[in-house]
Symmetry: C2
Subunit: 220 residues, 2 copies
């Protein structure tokens, strides 16, 4: 197909496609005449992946180039390629003090051991979890950590569904695209569903028809 | 206690406490002499709630005043007060086109009906979910919506744990504080755990010792 057709199919403007070719993100088309190039399905797939990494994953062009190099390296396992792509989309939680963060990191390492998860302690998501736990401790809500294993149960269920979805693949680029899109937008979906479920559970626990306050169940 | 002790206990600087009193967020202390006021546990609880709404929930002072008015209104049910506080912390997902958003809203309404959730269709979290689903559709990943009920199962489990935690209360201000902190930081905790579980599930599905790529299971 010509560059105009590639643009129409992917929704990416022609000058942007040319920019990706110049930056080495997208291979050049096959020249069919001195000033005309032809693009194929591989270009379309690569372009969709670039847009997913950029628009949904929030990666910068240099980071996208590194992810694509991993995709193109046959010596890298699918697991490693997925890590290259998704690790770069983990948000950072700064602001906790050193002592609290150190204690939280130990708590996370214990959790990883307890769950039998094949996750490195230096994984960005493990570091983000330690940051969130340290913040909870700092603001006097360290007790929340008691819910960790219940949360981990639910997270495992969601992750199994996610990976089954990602595994419906046609090629490595599709897998990486699905992983980035599913990781990022799946967060928005789960976050919204959890809040909706809160409303429902709260209505049943604390709501009543005439709007009066009922005594909540005492815990201790 | 004196204002200095209140500041020490809550970590909120004295000038900030005075600002909250001037803005009507915190009741004035009881005057014990012409230039000395005494504060009690109720002030401490209120101050902690203000800081949770501000620092963790990201609410502005005007919004905090409205949440506190709901807390102080005995005609408002606990369920309504929780909604006042947590609805204001829902992130917005803009950018989807009208047609896609309209279709996504219908999908969300169907989900609410199917789950039997006591959630209004105009709830901000329902609107955020519709926004995320519309974005998925727009970028060619509408298929992800097939996972909605699996996600909802996990969200219900987490929500039940959350509300049990919030319900361990000493007073309405503590409940609201726990709800805001648990909602916001619980999102960071779950998000991190889901990503860690991804790494584990991916290692088992796609990783192998020597780094070679194995054929993934074909879905269709």
């Amino acid at each position: 197909m010509r560059i105009g057709e590639l643009s129409r199919r992917t929704g990416v403007p022609v000058p942007t496609i040319k920019y990706y070719v110049r930056e080495g993100l997208l291979p050049a088309g096959r020249l069919t005449s001195p000033n005309q190039a032809s693009y194929d399905d591989a270009h379309e797939r690569r372009l969709r992946l670039i847009r997913a990494l950029l628009d949904v994953g929030g990666l910068k062009v240099a980071a996208i180039a590194e992810v694509l190099a991993a995709v193109d390296d046959p010596g890298r396992s699918v697991h490693k390629v997925l890590g290259e792509a998704t690790d770069r989309t983990v948000p950072r939680y700064p602001g906790a003090q050193d002592d609290e963060l150190e204690a939280a990191r130990e708590e996370v390492a214990e959790l990883i051991g307890r769950r039998g998860w094949r996750v490195d302690h230096n994984n960005p998501a493990a570091e983000a979890l330690a940051g969130a736990l340290a913040t909870l401790e700092r603001i006097g809500h360290g007790e929340f950590a008691e819910l960790l294993d219940d949360y981990a149960d639910a997270a495992e269920r969601v992750a199994r569904v996610d990976i089954a979805y990602v595994g419906r693949w046609a090629g490595l680029e599709d897998v990486v695209e699905r992983a980035v899109v599913g990781t990022m937008l799946g967060e928005a979906v789960f976050t919204s569903l959890r809040r909706m479920a809160h409303v429902d559970v709260s209505a049943r626990a604390f709501g009543n028809e005439d709007g009066e306050r009922t005594d909540p169940p005492a815990d201790e």
